[in-house]
Amino acid sequence: MSMPETETVVRQLTLGDAIREALAEEMRRDSRVLILGEDIAEAGTVFKVLTGLVEEFGPDRVLDTPISEPGFTGIAVGAAMTGLRPVVDIMFGDFIGLTMDQMVNQAAKIHYMSGGKWKVPMVMRTTMGATRRSAAQHSQSLHAWFCHVPGLKVVLPSTPYDAKGLMKSAIRDENPVAFFEDKMMYKLKGPVPEEDYTIPLGAADVKREGDDITIVATSSMVQVALGAAGRLAERGIGAEVVDPRTLWPLDETTILESVRKTSRAIVMDEGYGRYGVMAEIASVIAEQAFFDLEAPVKRIGAMHVPIPFSPPLEDATVPTEETVCEAAEAMCG
């Protein structure tokens, strides 16, 4: 666990508040940092994550935009090249489709295409995660698309502590970084130190130790994995939960070390089940820890269907602690 053990009384903050704090601290530290997005100023975003920022930093640094995701993403690319460090807020991760050209053909490639001459230090913050009864166009977890693109970095925090430290690193990074926040976790509380700290992009975190099986999980699936690990412990199975925290760069070393120790692995992610993030992580494990594995790597993700509105249907599409426990027991049995 990377939370400092020495800290005796640490504040509890929600994940949403931790993100706001990281942004506010970075905006105080560096006047080049600013935020662009829809309904982010007085409204503080629809999730209220940015409440108060416009009051502190003014409308020149917390800008309400028109509903023009391709346009203001493009503006951020240009601003990042020319001396600012923009953070772009895309309200729902489902809307990143509108920004793919600007993110992939421009932001991701400009450094390379210019032979290293221009840089694009920007952050795209957006959301992911289902079960909010928001239906097929407001519930997706589409981060796999960005992971596939060289030139981008991709961050998925799973705790308030990580969220603050990773957001600071993302803002200070010289590259375009996509930062995915699970909207169902905004109210999740956890310890967050007041001081300035960063978590490097590319360092996984072992969220729980265990000897029998490794569960590599991202974002809110970390919470599901931890819940499952607790239940598995009662049944005598030691599950180690590894959170990559950044999907690119990917900390293969930590993942592989864990799997080499446990010899079994489950990979969890809330993206669509097929051709997603889980496939890459499972492949890395199956390629590089092949001779250590006792059982095939198991993938547990969202069902490969558009996300339905009706509550019983939607609930059926996301992994639960029970699904994970069953799979782990079968693999360890």
Binding site: D64, P66, I67, A135, Q137, V305, S310
Partner: protein, 329 residues
């Protein structure tokens, strides 16, 4: 209203009363939806159309049953104006198997081929291509249908809208772009999001435009009629800007609104610019209706709404095995 009262014929009278009834049906439907949310009986959120009824009803009254519409996240009014049934609407809002989309779509995705409803859409501006494509089909297949694309002032921020207007003009497609200008994109006033004169945006892409008081159902209707006739006659697309206002929050959960708009502004619109009251009062003033008659309509509509809500509450959820049906046709 400085506008002269429309000429009264029997057909016109029927139409006005039909429009009045339909607007009231939308109003009562939305009030009920709000109530379901408040009592935690509705999953998720909904974006209510209260205050804007004259737009959907005025426009759809100019359409034939097989004409197409596309709708938005604020779609209940469009769906009902185009002929959707109350019971299946409520059932969809509650995620029930009997809903228009078997519960899979919910409030923001109601769609119905039988009434020409290509679907509500939760991507702002996202349906502009679909409506334009439907008009393209109508022209190619020679069916004489017209497509109406409803969207909000916020959708004017999406470049897609201009791309498809340009093609609609080039190809003379029978499509009418109806912009519901309710002044806000969620919690942001559109003075912060719109530059230039928006009435020139259509013409800049070859789409002639007209602006109308969106609280006057008959004015909306007559403007829409002209544009629909133009489209049907093969003269191409048009743009209709309707000035209107949503009386409630952006969605049912948006109850403290003072930080983005004043109570005075709201009460001004609610008191003086309610499209249903305006039509009712005008009909009474013109002796085209009497208060008792209008009350009777309200009683009928309210009873229909109450029955429909009961139906939806009692209807079953889809079975969990249906979750992966309908992914592919």
């Amino acid at each position: 209203m400085t506008q002269a009262a429309p000429t009264r014929t029997d057909a016109a009278l029927d139409r006005w009363l039909r429009m009045y009834r339909r607007m009231l049906m939308i109003r009562r439907f939305e009030e009920e939806a709000n109530d379901l949310y408040t009592r935690a009986l509705m999953p998720g959120l909904a974006h209510l159309y209260i205050g804007e009824e004259a737009v959907a009803v005025g426009v759809c009254e100019a359409l034939a049953p097989d004409d197409y519409i596309t709708s938005t996240h604020r779609g209940h009014g469009h769906c009902l104006a185009k002929g959707a049934e109350l019971d299946r609407m409520f059932a969809e809002l509650l995620g029930k198997r009997a809903g228009y989309c078997k519960g899979k779509g919910g409030s923001m995705h109601i769609a119905d081929p039988d009434t020409g409803n290509l679907g509500a859409n939760a991507i702002v501006g996202g349906s502009a291509g679909i409506a334009t494509g439907a008009a393209f089909s109508a022209l190619r297949l020679g069916t004489g249908q017209v497509a109406v694309c409803f969207f909000g002032d916020g959708a004017l921020g999406q470049g897609l809208v201009y791309e498809v207007m340009n093609m609609a003009a080039l190809w003379k497609l029978p499509v009418v772009y109806v912009c519901e200008n309710n002044l806000y994109n969620e919690y942001t006033h559109n003075s912060e999001t719109l530059a230039g004169d928006i009435m020139t945006r259509g013409p800049a892409f070859g789409v002639p435009g007209e602006r109308v008081d969106g609280q006057d159902a008959r004015a909306v209707h007559s403007a829409a009629r002209g544009q629909v006739a133009r489209a049907r006659a093969g003269e191409g697309p048009s743009f209709l800007l309707c000035d209107t206002y949503r009386f409630m929050g952006h969605h049912v959960g948006d109850v403290s609104r003072e930080y983005y708009r004043s109570k005075d502004e709201e009460s001004e619109w609610k008191t003086h610019r309610d499209p249903i009251r305006l039509l009712g009062e005008a009909l009474i003033a013109e002796q085209a209706a009497d208060p008792a008659g209008l009350d009777a309509i309200d009683a009928e509509v309210s009873a229909d709404v109450a029955r429909a809500v009961e139906f939806a509450k009692n209807a079953p959820y889809p079975s969990v095995d249906e979750v992966d049906d309908d992914v592919y046709a």
